[in-house]
């Protein structure tokens, strides 16, 4: 199996023998995964120093396809595992890929605390607004009123704005791209990787199989068109707020470096190592 006719970047960063991936036709996750890889390539990171961590769910299959140190953890706990990795060896570039449920339902507590600490982890959420792997139940980002197998009469929950949540909790770099706006997505991940601190990048994905079908959003192409027509860059809206009306904001939202957690801890080690009695 595997790819016999694939690009250099695929050969370099993917575990070819693990391909093709198992995401549904039309799923946005493959595109988003590719933006992660291209950002790593653009920055020329040493493959041996990159760790990719995920939780559970569709998004969390991504690390298996990528040729780095990869860790597929328990549901919602990816950031907690990643925190241990980063603190134990701050030289590593730690990237966490999570889904919307993974990051903000079962893992919501870890998200806000990793952001609060400003630990140098680049977190990328593949947000498809639904629980795909378990078959289409609503998530904390499923829009109000939309349908899901566990919201057969329409979802009465209010959705999270994940970027606002992460920024409010203390993330020092925050941005949102989409599976349609792949170049923007790549650029945001590059910036996130360069930010010495907790970076949060939301990637709007699409799930034609469950969310799309249940909510009559059309096929994958139609759902991509929706992203194209309904997303507007923050810089445009900053100049003309009218253009942001009823649209989804994308782009770089926040970039304000502060003291990073592992560096802060190193200061303590430098100051107290061997000073105290053992």
């Amino acid at each position: 199996m595997g790819c016999t006719n694939c690009s250099d970047i695929t050969k370099k960063y993917y575990r070819i023998e693990r391909l093709p991936h198992i995401w549904c036709p039309g799923c946005g996750h493959g595109t988003l995964m590719n933006t992660v890889v291209r950002a790593i390539d653009k920055l020329g990171l040493n493959k041996d120093e990159v760790v990719v961590v995920s939780g559970i769910g569709c998004s969390s299959r991504a690390p298996g396809y990528l040729d780095f140190n990869t860790l597929h953890t328990t549901h919602g706990r990816a950031l907690a595992f990643a925190t241990g990795i980063k603190l134990a060896n701050p030289k590593l570039h730690v990237i966490v890929i999570m889904g919307d449920g993974d990051s903000s339902a079962i893992g919501g507590n870890h998200l806000i605390h990793a952001a609060r600490r400003n630990i140098d982890i680049t977190t990328i959420v593949f947000n498809n607004n639904i629980y795909g792997m378990t078959g289409g139940q609503f998530s904390p980002t499923t829009p109000h009123g939309d349908f899901a197998t566990t919201a057969p009469f329409g979802n009465i929950d209010k959705p999270f704005d994940l970027c606002n949540l992460a920024q409010g909790a203390g993330a020092t770099f925050v941005g949102r791209g989409t599976a349609y706006h792949a170049l923007l997505m790549q650029k945001l991940i590059e910036k996130g990787l360069q930010n010495k601190g907790f970076s949060f990048i939301e990637g709007l994905s699409l799930c034609p199989t469950y969310y799309g079908r249940k909510n009559k959003k059309g096929n994958a192409l139609k759902m991509h068109e929706f992203l194209k027509d309904n997303c507007v860059d923050k810089r445009v809206v900053d100049k003309d707020p009218e253009k942001g009306k009823n649209k989804i904001l994308i782009g770089e939202f926040y970039n304000n470096p502060k003291i990073e957690y592992t560096e802060g801890y190193q200061v303590i080690i430098d100051k107290f190592q061997k000073l105290g009695e053992m």
Binding site: G64, D67, T74, A80, G276, M278
Partner: protein
């Protein structure tokens, strides 16, 4: 607190940290909970002094996850908690078992269920230490009964974790965690810490979960040039998930076998006045100290009674209990729960001799008098 001759007067919880540091602990992630809190506090103070890392996580699930991350990156890692926190850690303890990540989990037990009695001793987590996480998996748990032993068996817990690539539970009770006793610490030359074995092959040939003949796969820390995949899913020798019924069965069997078939290597116990004992009291942790006192008293009154104290409480010491059952006329199991360890003793010994329970769940130690009363039927 300390003196030049290597003796200190410390709490069990402090001895635990001393032992962990002596064993090479360099990463601690935890969440404070009574009566284990001092372990976090002292780790926070001491780890940076040896270049190690301490982090207070947002909860126990995160703590257990973080020490797996720390261990995967090559640092000897530990967390400590008490009853409810131990419950929260269970899913990721299972992860450590299937992904074969060495780590030490200290549980200074408190009364339960639920929030229970935070400041009172209990031995209510005996079964949770074995079956707390789901699925079949190996369980290793050690139960010290003194400050000195807490130090010694924390070191052993790390050694077992490293050697067998498995989570190891140090199952303390509040009595031991909070008592102050003399502790003799070892010099670094006296400690031969065990370290997980490393791969000798080239990175491209490395199969992260291919076991050697001893059933244990060599371990390459993340960041050392060996790129591989780790998952909590049932996986093949490459570390990638598999749906093969054959491979999944073999994996879990190997995880269990690598402990069960090496049980003699991790078996620790104490026998007290057992040579001619007709009556055997099985007790562990804080209760074993009261039991000794009761035995001394009964011996003075010519009752042939002795104690068997499992220190390795999991895996269960079938062989030793069997031998006891062959000779004893009566076995008592004294524990601060309603009979958790009793169930296992009865399983092995029950067909050979009567096995009886001595239990207390009031948040107080079982007293020597209560043990004597139970064994003699009130005659003494």
């Amino acid at each position: 607190m300390s003196s030049k001759d290597g003796y200190k007067l410390v709490q069990g919880n402090e001895a635990c940290v001393e032992g962990a540091l002596a064993a090479g602990m360099r990463f601690y992630a935890g969440y404070p909970i009574t009566p284990s809190t001092e372990i976090a506090e002292i780790s926070a103070q001491k780890l940076p002094q040896v270049g190690g890392k301490f982090i207070q996580m947002e909860d126990e699930l995160a703590s257990m996850a973080a020490i797996i991350g720390g261990s995967l990156t090559g640092l000897k890692s530990m967390t400590a908690t008490s009853g409810p926190g131990f419950s929260l850690m269970q899913e990721n303890i299972g992860y450590a078992a299937i992904a074969e990540i060495p780590c030490v989990v200290v549980n200074v037990q408190r009364g339960g269920p639920s929030t229970g009695m935070p400041t009172s001793p209990s031995q209510g987590d005996v079964m949770q230490a074995k079956w707390g996480t789901h699925g079949d998996h190996p369980a290793v748990a050690l139960t010290p009964n003194s400050v000195q032993e807490t130090y010694e068996y924390t070191i052993k817990a790390f050694d077992i974790a490293e050697k067998y690539r498995t989570p190891v539970v140090l199952l303390m009770d509040e009595t031991v965690g909070h008592m102050r006793e003399k502790l003799k610490v070892k010099s670094s030359s006296e400690i031969e810490a065990v370290n997980r074995k490393k791969p000798t092959c080239k990175p491209e040939e490395y199969k992260a979960y291919r076991p050697d003949e001893d059933m244990i796969p060599p371990f390459a820390p993340f960041g050392n040039g060996y790129r591989y995949h780790v998952t909590g899913l049932t996986h093949d020798e490459t570390g990638f998930p598999t749906n093969s019924n054959i491979i999944s069965g073999e994996l879990v069997q190997r995880l269990v076998d690598k402990i069960e078939k090496n049980i003699d290597d991790i078996t620790y116990y104490e026998e007290y006045k057992m040579d001619d004992a007709d009556i055997v009291i099985i007790a562990f942790g804080g209760v074993s100290r009261a039991t000794k006192s009761a035995i001394d008293h009964m011996r003075e009154n010519n009752i042939k009674v002795g104690m068997f104290r499992p220190i390795t409480i999991w895996p269960f010491l079938d062989k030793q209990i069997n031998q006891i059952a062959d000779k004893a006329k009566e076995i008592y199991v004294a524990e601060m729960n309603l009979g958790q360890y009793f169930l296992e003793v009865d399983r092995v010994a029950g067909k050979k001799c009567p096995v009886k329970k001595i239990n207390k769940i009031s948040g107080e130690l079982i007293t020597p008098e209560e043990i004597t009363y139970a064994v003699t039927g009130g005659r003494l």
